[in-house]
């Protein structure tokens, strides 16, 4: 079907119908077309990419993690549950090594680690699974208002099934009031679920104290540690944690894998959400994805080895960013407790500036106004509203995520851009003008009725 104008050489090339340039290329030789394509690709390469400052949404994979995974994506493809041949055995060994690496990072026994598809699944299994298993006797669950959407949504589902849920408010600094927690525990409370490090404001809950309260009251304690594992030291025994969710892609591992820690002594029992071949102690049926678990294991072992080094570096960069921004622009508030926090998550509110417009102005930097899951909506973050931030401050917040691969240049660039853009947007803002004239914005009646 070659058109007469084409030369023989085009026959050497397979017709590539998926390349739009190929269409309507009658009369041109394949090599010209190819040259044009290469030119187009080269031009695309000249465009610059924004730099990445959203490490709470996801992290790039560490090259050491990819290096550990690749053999299992290429040669060792056996099903880790096959017991009859070497292909299965080698995959099983790799999976068990990974299980041990995850367990070592959190001070657990490898038998207490269940591989899942991510922290969302882990949270679902933990909350729904535990509530349903103990439902004949206990029908009350306690959580906080600042949890991740998947915890809150799992609780909503249980509410529809007839469970009663207490959504505890948090204090102004984002931390849970322990006395309030203790007072909220009822005789029929089966579970308390509080996240370790908040994904939006970075505050670190007093997990050790919460664990102590729960153990003394005979209530199971679950924590969503997706943002905390590998970044702060965690020990499930010291902290008396019964269930803990872990995510792979938040710790420089692959996406699509996570883990759930399920305590064996005293035993925590769960009703599985997914039934089938009975893998993972029957709690999560389905073939375990060996390459992904190998990646998660490698990420955990690297995190353990690099925790101190990463911590120093992330804290240094975070301070650099905060100091630069706070010293240059007034009326910037930092959300969340200033002490009890993970340094790599900085949430700042720029008063009199609309967060979304600032994000648009900072298109050279990949940033977010809150969690990635809710970043499509223009609603202010429920986490910021829960800590009592005024509606206007909640609307003007931006989350800066710093991680293992962030450089000084990136921090400086972000700070500089941020400073110029906030100044520019404030100059255009009538609110800012009014504040400069000494008008108290709270005294203004915006609506007639």
């Amino acid at each position: 079907m070659l058109s007469s104008g084409r030369t023989v050489s085009s026959r050497l090339l397979r017709p590539a119908s998926w390349l739009p340039l190929w269409q309507g290329s009658e009369g041109r030789t394949a090599s010209t077309v190819q040259k044009e394509l290469i030119k187009k690709w080269e031009l695309e390469k000249d465009e610059l990419r924004p730099l990445y400052m959203d490490f709470q949404a996801t992290t790039p994979m560490d090259p050491r993690v990819l290096d550990a995974m690749l053999p299992y994506q290429v040669n060792y493809y056996g099903n880790p549950h096959s017991r009859t041949h070497a292909y299965g055995w080698e995959s099983e060994t790799a999976m068990e090594t990974a299980r041990k690496q995850v367990a070592d990072l959190i001070g657990a026994d490898p038998r207490e680690i269940i591989f899942t598809s991510g922290a969302t699944e882990s949270n679902n299994i933990a909350i729904k699974g535990l509530a349903r298993f103990y439902q004949t006797k206990k029908r009350h669950i306690i959580t906080t208002q600042t949890e991740h959407k998947c915890v809150l949504d799992s609780c909503r589902v249980l509410e529809a099934e007839g469970f009663s849920i207490t959504y505890l408010p948090v204090q102004k600094n984002g931390l849970l009031d322990l006395e309030l927690l203790e007072a909220s525990i009822r005789p029929d409370t089966s579970l308390v679920s509080v996240m370790t490090v908040n994904n939006e404001i970075g505050v670190k809950q007093p997990i050790k104290d919460i664990g102590k309260i729960c153990r003394s009251k005979g209530v199971f304690f679950h924590t969503d540690a997706a943002q905390a594992v590998g970044k702060i030291p965690i020990n499930v025994t010291d902290w008396k944690i019964d269930l803990m969710s872990i995510s792979g892609h938040k710790i420089y591992g692959p996406k699509g894998v996570g883990a759930l820690y399920v305590r064996r002594r005293p035993r925590v029992r769960l009703e599985p959400l997914q039934n089938g071949g009975g893998q993972e102690r029957g709690l999560r049926s389905g073939t375990v994805p060996t390459p992904l678990t190998v990646g998660l294991g490698a990420a955990c072992s690297i995190a353990q080895q690099e925790m101190e080094y990463d911590h120093q570096r992330v804290s240094m960069l975070a301070n650099r960013l905060i100091e630069k921004i706070l010293s240059e622009i007034p009326d910037v508030t930092m959300n969340g407790d200033p002490e009890q926090r993970y340094a790599g998550c900085i949430n700042l509110s720029f008063a009199y500036v609309e967060g979304e417009s600032l994000l648009m102005a900072l298109k050279d930097v990949a940033l977010s106004s809150g969690s990635a899951c809710t970043s499509a909506s223009l609603e202010p973050s429920y986490v910021l509203r829960a800590i009592g931030a005024d509606e206007d401050l909640a609307h003007s917040s931006i989350r800066f995520g710093i991680g293992r691969f962030t450089t000084e240049e990136e921090v400086d660039y972000t700070a500089e851009k941020c400073i110029t853009q906030v100044r520019r947007l404030r100059e255009m803002s009538p609110l800012w003008e009014m504040v400069q004239e000494g008008i108290d914005l709270k005294s203004i009646k915006w609506t007639q009725h």
């Binding site: 990419r49 730099l51 790039p60 691969f405 240049e409």
Partner: protein, 84 residues
């Protein structure tokens, strides 16, 4: 440390920096250079020959890892970031 070992350590260090510098990704490249430098600095005072030998072996393994990951990175290059 014996003079021969010292020169081996220095040559491994140079090699690792040279290979790290080939990462096409800005963030991986800067991280690898920084991590290699800091690791050699942190272990600079170690005199125990056994420990030095163990670290040298680890370094060799890491060097091979860097070389593999650099090749992969070069196969899937992307645009430069705004700070480069």
């Amino acid at each position: 440390m014996a003079a021969s070992t010292r020169s081996q350590v220095i040559s491994l260090y140079r090699m690792m920096l040279k290979e790290s510098n080939k990462f096409p990704s800005y963030n991986y490249r800067t991280y690898a250079l920084r991590r290699v430098r800091d690791a050699f600095r942190a272990n600079g005072k170690i005199e125990d020959p056994k420990a030095v030998e163990r670290l040298m072996e680890e370094g060799q393994r890491t060097l091979a890892l860097i070389q593999r990951q650099v090749s992969i990175g070069q196969m899937y290059k992307s645009q430069r970031t705004v700070v480069e």
